[in-house]
């Protein structure tokens, strides 16, 4: 795999194939997020790690153990993601000072992680690993950017029925319009 392909995958994962905004995977986690940009960045980093480790484990399981029983894919993948998230949560609690993300477990188990693991089964192992990092970075940047933009929205200037979630959706829609202008492909 040469540098151009890796760069293409990374750019696609962050921009034109952004999971949270364009593929609607993990969108709820991004829209519901009311944390500061800094906390969003930390949670996003944790989710990226979950995506990478989950892909490292689920790809071989899918290609070697689930060949005869493909209908167990979702159950096995959810189980692996659960295990990975719990282990990262336990380690982070012990080694990170002021670890305050009590909701990390619920946050990190989202559609983006499971969807990525399922998508990655169609690629080769190396591509799957690069894709998981790229999608994770894209997810992290989306969360941070969205948290920053949402904190600057002046609710008073918005018609009452559009306050809250509708304006949050429209804000995300505007970011989507900008991303749609870019057409990098995996």
């Amino acid at each position: 795999m040469d540098f151009k392909i890796i760069l293409g995958i990374v750019l696609a994962g962050i921009l034109s194939e952004n999971y949270a905004l364009l593929h609607f995977l993990g969108t709820g986690a991004v829209l519901e997020n009311e944390r500061s940009s800094r906390q969003s960045l930390t949670l996003g980093l944790g989710t990226t790690l979950v995506m990478l480790i989950s892909t490292l484990i689920t790809w071989p399981i899918n290609n070697y153990l689930l060949v005869e029983v493909p209908y167990l894919q979702t159950m096995v993948f959810v189980f692996v993601v659960l295990l990975v998230v719990e282990v990262i949560h336990m380690i982070a609690r012990k080694i990170v000072d002021n670890y305050c993300h009590a909701h990390f477990v619920k946050f990190a188990i989202n559609g983006a992680v499971l969807g990525l693991c399922i998508h990655n089964t169609e690629a080769d192992y190396l591509t799957a690993i690069v894709t998981s990092v790229a999608v994770g970075i894209g997810f992290m940047l989306t969360m941070t950017l969205y948290a920053k933009i949402e904190s600057t929205v002046d609710e008073e200037a918005i018609p009452a029925p559009f306050r809250g979630i509708p304006i949050a959706l429209l804000t995300a829609g505007m970011i989507v319009l900008a991303l749609l202008a870019l057409q990098f492909k995996f």
């Binding site: 905004l21 364009l22 593929h23 609607f24 995977l25 993990g26 969108t27 709820g28 986690a29 829209l31 519901e32 209908y71 167990l72 894919q73 979702t74 159950m75 959810v78 189980f79 993601v81 659960l82 719990e86 477990v105 619920k106 188990i109 989202n110 559609g111 992680v113 499971l114 969807g115 399922i118 998508h119 018609p159 009452a160 029925p161 559009f162 306050r163 809250g164 979630i165 509708p166 304006i167 949050a168 959706l169 429209l170 995300a172 829609g173 989507v176 319009l177 749609l180």
Partner: protein, 203 residues
């Protein structure tokens, strides 16, 4: 029981649920068939999970609730996915990976955690039915708008009259956000939910 239902629906839950499930509402609302399929999947999996969780919640220790509930939901989602694959393969193709990701959907999990975990079977079934039907109606409403305006078709059949006037962006990702935002604003206006939320912020 009446108190539980009223508080569940009035404390802004429909809006919160729609945000948690915004991903699959938008993903499945480009076509009415997909919206109905996803609506049915959400409704049935939510209902079955609520029944099982409300029946066993007393014997599950607190630290094991998340993994147990998630695996229960995943089991039902896998079952529904296989049934749909057998009977409605076109709908499963339309929904793609989103049908599987329903297993980790915060909507179903939160319904189990907040309602089925604290109530009996009857209340849990009622709440799951109300929530599932609410989701299905919103998804179908969004799908109707997006399919007619974005694809100039309905139930996959082209509408000749609208072919020259269709706006393709509405059927795409941006249309998903735009249409859901408008539908939610209409829900807020009709239910007066924004007044409730404003009051909550003031307090």
């Amino acid at each position: 029981m009446k108190k539980t239902k009223t508080s569940y629906l009035l404390r802004g839950t429909p809006s919160i649920l729609l945000v948690l499930g915004a991903g699959f509402v938008m993903a499945s609302s480009a076509d009415i068939r997909a919206a109905l399929g996803m609506g049915a999947a959400v409704l049935v999996s939510m209902l079955l999970s609520a029944v099982v969780v409300s029946a066993i919640h007393k014997i599950i220790p607190g630290y094991a609730k998340l993994p147990t509930y998630l695996m229960i939901i995943t089991g039902f989602v896998s079952l529904i996915s296989m049934l749909m694959q057998a009977h409605f393969p076109i709908v499963v193709d339309m929904l793609g990976v989103h049908l599987a990701t329903l297993a980790v959907s915060a909507v179903i999990y939160r319904d189990c955690e907040e309602c089925a975990d604290h109530n009996g079977e009857a209340t849990s079934i009622k709440t799951a039915l109300v929530t599932g039907l609410f989701f299905t109606v919103v998804m179908v409403a969004c799908a109707l708008i997006r399919e007619v305006i974005g694809n100039a078709s309905i139930w996959g059949q082209p509408i000749e009259l609208l072919q020259d006037y269709k706006i393709s962006a509405i059927a795409g990702a941006f249309g998903g956000y735009l249409v859901l935002a408008i539908v939610m604003a209409v829900i807020n206006k009709l239910t007066g939910l924004h007044h409730h939320l404003d009051e909550k912020e003031d307090n």
